[in-house]
């Protein structure tokens, strides 16, 4: 039985790698800003704090996730993205310009830059949604694709809310619904886009990579519907200023805790206990998600001011942990896959493309960064140390990616192909 999928679905390696290579560059930039301005970034609504938040969530997290989406849609969706190289080039360029403009607009309080950011970010994100979303409907359907749909719809709406807010910043005037808009913007961005996509990826890779027991079918089928309904009503409640909006946060929190518990159980009870740095990243990632939910929950109860910052930082570090863990798997796979597809006999094995020693060093730097960053919510000095180790971590990530690409190019030039034998 042939599965009916196109056999030439994988996009060229440059499509995904251009997004991945940009991730550490934005990471280094945000580390420098935090190192030089530790007092300012500790004030939640300070322009530099907003610049750093958007560099993290757009420049690092969204940049990596859109790159991964290009690969995932092509392989899992069964319907290749049309003109994938050209489209990836435009989206990456616009996204990059948009992120730099937005960070610059916040950091230097240059109001016209908000309009430039709104145009480029809005165009790139809505273009991604318009390009990939139609391919996720009407063809093959499985749980990961359902999650990808919700994630992309959430990203598009987050961008629309962001455009409206950017024009408010540009004009220096804020409407009565600004708070509702702001809360909806980050709820959809954090939960609808980042949280949902990571859960969708977990459903696909945890079972497949680590030979665990499968997630429950009921959970896989219904979790994205429950997220969608909760987010929809939360936004409705916010805009109509209705009471008890925390009920929807409670439902979302319960869903995320369910995901944490089921994932931790599967990873700790896997059949073969092979040491793998990506599993460490997954475990630390879901612990950070638990910290984020717990601190947000306690804040809703007692209103202690530093807790939302801890929740936001823990959530960002959760997403970063999963991204670093998955990049350590995806990048060697892409190099190996494209060389083998091209028929190279002497393709290096995946574990030699990013050696275990460098993966472990990346994990160690991540661990140091998260400890200093979380304790840095209270004191500037640990935050500066966190920025230093974060800078080192992103530099090592950049080095890993460049070395993997150099190995790829070296094999392309000097390798032996099937037909040469």
């Amino acid at each position: 039985m042939y599965n009916g999928l196109s056999l030439e679905q994988a996009p060229p390696i440059s499509v995904v790698m251009r997004f991945f290579l940009t991730v550490p560059i934005f990471g280094i930039l945000l580390s420098i800003i935090v190192f030089l301005n530790p007092h300012e970034v500790l004030i939640p609504s300070h322009p530099l704090s907003l610049a750093v938040i958007h560099l993290m969530f757009l420049g690092v997290i969204t940049m990596a996730m859109i790159g991964a989406l290009f690969q995932m849609q092509s392989v899992l969706g069964g319907r290749p993205i049309p003109s994938v190289s050209g489209n990836a080039f435009i989206i990456h360029l616009f996204l990059g310009i948009g992120i730099v403009s937005l960070a610059g607009a916040f950091a230097f309080s240059v109001e016209p830059l908000f309009i430039v950011a709104a145009v480029f970010l809005g165009a790139s994100i809505l273009y991604v949604a318009n390009l990939i979303l139609p391919l996720l409907f009407g063809g093959a359907t499985h749980d990961t694709l359902r999650g990808m749909r919700l994630a992309l719809i959430s990203l598009a709406i987050t961008a629309i809310f962001g455009i409206v807010m950017a024009t408010s910043y540009a004009n220096g005037s804020f409407s009565a619904s600004h708070d509702a808009l702001r809360t909806s913007h980050y709820s959809l961005g954090l939960i609808g886009w980042i949280g949902t996509l990571i859960i969708a990826i977990a459903f696909q890779v945890v079972e497949m990579f680590y030979v665990t027991t499968p997630y429950s079918l009921w959970c896989k089928r219904n979790v994205f519907r429950l997220f969608a309904v909760s987010l929809f009503f939360k936004i409705l409640w916010l805009f109509f200023v209705l009471p008890f909006v925390w009920i929807f946060d409670l439902v979302i929190g319960a869903l995320l805790i369910g995901f944490i518990v089921t994932t931790a159980k599967r990873l700790s009870q896997r059949k073969r206990r092979v040491s793998d740095v990506s599993i460490w990243f997954w475990m630390v990632g879901i612990i950070l998600l638990a910290v984020s939910i717990a601190t947000y929950g306690v804040f809703e109860w007692n209103g202690y001011a530093p807790l939302p910052s801890i929740a936001l930082n823990a959530f960002a570090l959760f997403a970063l942990a999963i991204i670093l863990g998955m990049m350590g798997k995806i990048v060697p796979f892409l190099v190996w896959f494209h060389l083998n597809s091209a028929g190279y006999m002497d393709t290096p094995i995946m574990s030699n493309i990013i050696p275990q020693s460098r993966s472990k060093a990346l994990f160690a730097l991540f661990g140091i960064t998260l400890l200093f960053t979380l304790s840095g919510i209270f004191y500037p000095l640990p935050l500066q140390l966190g920025a230093l180790s974060g800078g080192a971590m992103f530099t090592l990530l950049l080095l890993n990616l460049i070395k993997a690409l150099k190995l790829y190019r070296h094999t392309l030039v000097y390798g032996t192909r099937f037909e040469q034998l």
Binding site: N3, E8, Q9, F337, S341
Partner: protein, 80 residues
Amino acid sequence: MILLDTRELDHPIPLEMVVDAFKKLSGDEVIHMIHRREPIPLFEIITKNGGRYLSTMERDDLWHIYITRSSTVELEHPHV
């Protein structure tokens, strides 16, 4: 028939094992891979390098994949 039962192996060992075996295939030899998933990326590597495959699902978590370089060998999954 070269049998590769990779059901209990972590990613990416199954893919590396089967591609390694495919590179060494000669004549009418056939690889029979038993896996817990349909290894979709494998098929592009096989077909781009002059191979053929047959992928059959027995259960959601049990797939049989037959691979050859021969253009004449008939690939079929025995129905028990």
